[in-house]
């Protein structure tokens, strides 16, 4: 991260004038481009961008875009339709030009008028889009188009700029230019580049930034990826009042944030009354913290219910929340407001507690070199008691005391502390906290039909997920949704029906599903009966088994443990002729699967236990990870053979 003032440069610009970007002209494609049928740099690509040019000028409030791309497959024809969103009244899209060039050199110009369509309009926010499609496009066509976005003055200061260097298609050559606004009084421009090695931002003079880059791979698309936003190549520019280092920025902004938080959570009479009603003088610090946690968790968290509309608040004369006590009085708030209410109540109760803001791992990975406070969009609370710090997640509805949603675990952020603000990382999830245990007793007949029941005991993230589903659905719908998920894991031919749940509204305990099941689980073959060895895994979706290569890290959200204890009771006269061998499959330090079968008279008990102690893995670890899951997948397919003394009708 670098930053510099542009005042001096701007003065020169004022004298010398700005070197205005020249609007790119359409250019004749090369013979190689015309005859190209595939791209060795992008094997299998549907289209590739031959050239992309973007010139952004905050002094003129314009963005000029030029694209030339090659269509390589039928699917690549989709690139012929271009949508250009804009904010009506604040910006416009002008001077759209385009043409299609066939492999034989024939040129078909874009002659139709672009459509101007509504995307979304809420009061004064009117988002529209101009849309055009290039004519006579075929596989092999070169598509070329350009347009200009113009902005009104009101937008530019906060707008900054972003170059999206990594695009849906492979880019052969790209050129970017950015001329920031000539400043008033010391406003500087900062930039945040995330670029492939070897690519560098240039500043050739005149306060202008440029980037020339070649061979940019298309945006990746792999299962279990971290948020795509976190690793796409891009450059962001933004205006800043002063030059700062990374540490300085976060400390400065952190202090401002800390002051705002402290003001929001400052003790008040209403809060003192509330806290005094909830905690008893003799409570331990931990008891107080837990009681207050339960109290704020019980409030209406509008992120899980419904936020009152603006008109509704006005009609009910509900004030905007400006202080933690407003949230308490209204008995309602969003996750942020409830988290900071909890902080306020802890402090009011005399406990040592700090605010912590982190990134939501579902959407982004925190990057301190990107100077944007908006990255930190989740509020947590740090409780310091008995010399130990505990991070709490009161804004996450139904999250047990002491646990975090996986989206808030193992993420970076900024916190208050006894010595001021500092950058920090929340702890990872422990697999032992996220354990799900399946217990099943299944009774078979000689044809393979089965009746039985399961109890599924969920803790941690799995329990939290279903409890939150229950917040927005009634009991019937919840059972239906749970059955659908469970149905996809049991053998084909088996039907499952949730009888009831236990502990749905008790977040600190296990959530238990009581399930009845019946159907055909076995396959009768003469004197034999074949059964799935691992009842809950036969149809399980085992990840990574067929994905041979990995480019991006793996993010499986949280570590976990699954235990399955299944007992088959079979008819008299049957014995176990063959059962899966006891297995132990491991990826040392990361994951392990242990299975064991125990046969007794007219029954066999199968135990299956998988611990996944990791949630993140680097591409370099992928082959080990995949090898583990391949062994798991083949283990899951094993079967049990029962045989009867009587000879059946089969072969």
């Amino acid at each position: 991260m670098r930053i510099r003032g542009i005042l001096r440069g701007a003065a020169l610009i004022g004298i010398c004038g700005v070197a205005l970007p020249v609007r790119p002209q359409f250019q004749p494609p090369s013979p190689d481009e015309l005859k190209m049928t595939a791209d060795p740099k992008a094997p299998g690509a549907d289209a590739v961008i031959l050239e992309y040019r973007e010139a952004d000028n905050d002094r003129l409030l314009t963005e000029d875009i030029y694209t030339r791309l090659k269509v390589l497959t039928d699917k690549g024809k989709e690139a012929a339709t271009v949508e250009l969103p804009y904010w009506k009244g604040a910006s416009s899209v002008d001077d759209i030009r385009g043409r299609t060039i066939h492999p034989d050199g024939t040129i078909v110009p874009l002659t139709g008028k672009p459509e101007d369509l509504l995307s979304e309009k809420v009061n004064k926010l009117n988002i529209k889009r101009k849309v055009f499609t290039l004519p006579a496009v075929d596989v092999g066509s070169v598509l070329e188009y350009s347009y200009q976005l113009r902005f009104n003055d009101m937008l530019f200061v906060s707008r900054g700029e972003e170059w999206r260097v990594q695009q849906p298609y492979f880019v052969h050559k790209a050129h970017y230019e950015y001329a920031p606004y000539a400043p008033y009084g010391g406003i500087g421009v900062a930039w945040w580049p995330h670029l492939p090695s070897g690519a560098a931002l240039n500043s050739p003079g005149g306060g202008v930034f440029t980037l020339d880059i070649a061979d940019v791979p298309a945006a990746p698309d792999e299962e279990w990826m971290p948020p795509l936003n976190s690793f796409l190549y891009r450059v962001r520019f933004y205006y800043s009042l002063k030059a700062e280092t990374t540490a300085q920025y976060w400390m400065d902004e952190g202090k401002k944030w800390s002051d705002i938080v402290d003001k929001f959570v400052a003790p008040s009479g209403a809060l003192r009354d509330a806290v005094n009603r909830i905690v008893a003088p003799g409570d331990s610090e931990l008891d107080k913290a837990q009681k207050l946690y339960t109290a704020v968790e019980a409030l209406d968290n509008t992120d899980y219910s419904r936020a009152k509309t603006e008109s509704e608040r006005r009609a009910l004369h509900i004030k905007d929340i400006k202080h933690a006590e407003d949230t308490w009085k209204q008995k309602s708030g969003n996750s942020f407001e409830i988290a900071y209410l909890y902080l306020a109540m802890l402090r009011t109760a005399g406990l040592k507690a700090y605010a912590l803001q982190v990134v939501d791992r579902m959407y982004e990975v925190f990057d301190p070199s990107y100077f944007n406070w908006d990255q930190l969009n989740v509020a947590l609370v740090v409780l310091s008691s008995g010399g130990k710090e505990t991070i709490l997640d009161p804004g996450e509805k139904l999250c047990p005391f002491g646990q975090l949603s996986w989206r808030h675990a193992e993420v970076r952020g900024i916190r208050q502390g006894p010595d001021g603000v500092s950058l920090t990382t929340t702890p990872p999830e422990n697999f032992a906290d996220n354990m799900t245990t399946y217990n099943a007793n299944l009774t078979l007949d000689a044809k393979g039909a089965m009746t039985g029941s399961f109890t599924i005991v969920m803790n941690g993230q799995e329990a939290l997920y279903w409890r939150q589903v229950a917040l927005v659905n009634d009991a019937d719908e919840l059972e239906t949704e749970y059955e659908k998920q469970l149905q996809a894991t049991v053998p084909e031919g088996v039907d499952v029906h949730v009888d009831h749940f236990v502990g749905m509204d008790q977040p600190d305990g296990s959530l238990i599903a009581i399930v009845n099941a019946n159907g055909m689980v076995g396959t009768a073959m003469g004197k034999r009966l074949l059964l799935p060895g691992y009842f809950f895994e036969t149809r399980g979706d085992v990840p990574f088994v067929n994905e041979q290569r990995r480019l991006e890290p793996v993010d499986m959200h949280f570590a976990s443990r699954i235990n399955e204890n299944v007992t088959y009771h079979f008819p008299a006269g049957y014995t176990v002729e063959g059962a899966p061998a006891d297995a132990r499959v491991s990826w040392p330090g990361h994951a392990i699967l242990v299975t064991k079968s125990t046969a007794a008279q007219e029954q066999i008990a199968i135990a299956y236990s998988m611990v996944r102690a990791f949630d993140l893995a680097e591409p370099g670890e992928y082959q080990d990870l995949r090898g583990f899951y391949q062994q798991v997948a083949t283990t899951n397919q094993q079967q049990i053979v029962l045989s009867s003394a009587e000879t059946g009708k089969g072969s």
Binding site: G44, R129, R314, G493, M520, Q630, Q639
Partner: protein, 666 residues
Amino acid sequence: MFMRIPRFRRTGLFSCIGACLAVWAGNSAWAKNQPAPDWAQEAAKAATPADPGDAAAVLLYDEYVITVDDQNHAVERERWATRILKPQGREWGHCAVDYDIDEKLDYFHAWTITANGQQFQAKDTDFEDKGAYDAPELQMTDRIRALNPPAGDPGAVVACETQKRLAPYMDEEDWQIQYPIPVVDEALELDLPPGGHFAQSWSHYPPVKEVEGGANQMRWEIKGMSALDLENLHATPPLEALAARMSVFWGDAAVNGVDNQWRAIGVWQDQLEAHRTDPTPEITARAQALVAGAPDLYTKLSRITDYIQKNVRYFIVEKGIGGWQAHYAGDIFRNGYGDCKDKTTLLIAMLQSIGVRAYYLHVDSERGVIDPDEPSLTGNHMITAIELPEGESDARLMARVKAADGKTLLIFDPTDEETPVGLIRGELQGAYGNLADGADSQVIQMPVLPPDSGGLSRTGSFVLAADGTLSGDVTDVFSGVDAAGERGLLKENTQKDVREGIEVGMSSDLPGATFKGLEFEQTEKLDQPIRLEMQLSAASYAHSAGPLLLLRPRVMGSDARAVPDVMESKARHFPIEIGHPGCWRDSFDITLPAGYAVDGTPDPVNVDVGFARYHSTVTAKGNTLHYEREYVVKDVEIPPSKAADFRMLEGSILEDEKGAVVLKKD
């Protein structure tokens, strides 16, 4: 999907979950709360039906009043009130209305009456306008105004009232009267000018006699309509094909008799497209060049349809009447893009250039939505009916139907870029459409094709190692409708996605399999089969179970069709969709490892239930195991009365697919 959905009445209940409303409210937005009008307060008093089932909400009141003036211009007012019963029912309170550039939304008011009687009036900030479609290839001017209701919680009643002026060319109302939630009280009122007349028809509901409220004022009322909830049922026709509805015409469109109504619609469509199909000299030249030297009609048709399928990209630009009216053939030809109407238009023009007549055929992309007993503009797609000369008997032209006037028509969908002329995809088979042929316009049923119109032949040769590893070669040959499906897959996905899709699809049968080769062989000709060659190896495919080695001879692929509610023997009231006619065959040879002998094989399976049959055998000869099966489907859907047959068929297939051969060491 392909064509403007007619003003299907239910846009008034369009779901708009998750609308995120910004807050720049003008002062006018905060005008004083007006109490809910009497009609809304009365509606809110209605009791929830005693047994609403799983319904998340109940529609207490739904009334349309359509007023037609002497210029045949109509204004439609809708009032509706919904009680939210469950948290997931909040979406039903998000009232919405759609309108296009040739319509005018006069007003949209809404109120919420909470369970304890408190009232809220929606303000400007509670509404949002959106484009009705956001897919890049659907560029339409149609938009939706949606409400985020204040206090829209369980127990509350959300009452909405809209009024819009209908498009000047619209003289039909399609009134949907059944939804996934129950309706307590609903009505449609039609107020005609002096001398005005109307025609009505009903679908999936016995006709209701209108009540005349005054001169030229008709009103239909229905009370206590049950919910049609298909959410947890499988393989049913779509809701639109099963829900009760009524259509009413006024003005010139109002003619008596079902056949006459269909004819009137066809005539209107013909007039709308008048001269749009006129071939330009360029179109004629291209058409004639394409068919030059063609030995027969099939070849001529094939060359022209193939040209349109490959050279006219699917892209919709629709404004108002553009939802019904095609562009001119010359423009479509020059631009190389268009929607379903445009593709049909260009096809008609090109065929006309070589002396073949063809017609617009208005259909729906889903079977059952168009009801022959209920003439209407319902239907979202346009395809082509090509008139075949008398005596034309080319067996490749399968998708033919005899019209009431004796014409033999070949049905073809030029928007479907993969299905060759002569065939139609499964969704169209057995469905109805309205032929636009002037005075001979009529509703026709599209054919259900024979089993040789599609399918897959899969052959495999494998070697099983003693450690359970299975390796070998597999050849898939997709034909007809299934080849078209594969072509679509290849076209719509990247090569990487196709490969991964196949690998993942196989992973439940062959976990951990590695594919040394995976190549599609296809020709440019749409009527040729597609071959997929695979070389694979799957470690631990055969599993030890004590002293035994278990081998599933089916190896890969499944013919089973998951319809859980039918398989659980739950009562079935709706038809069961069973895919499309075709023949799927597997033939595998597996060489067994030395030292192992077959100790048990699954029993052969032979099931024939009329609409489908399934046959499977496993035989052992020397050290080779041979598995073969054949699955033949002869129909597209079956009535609920055949649910037991379906259950028996699927149970047999499932059992067979799970079957294993038991190997023992010699």
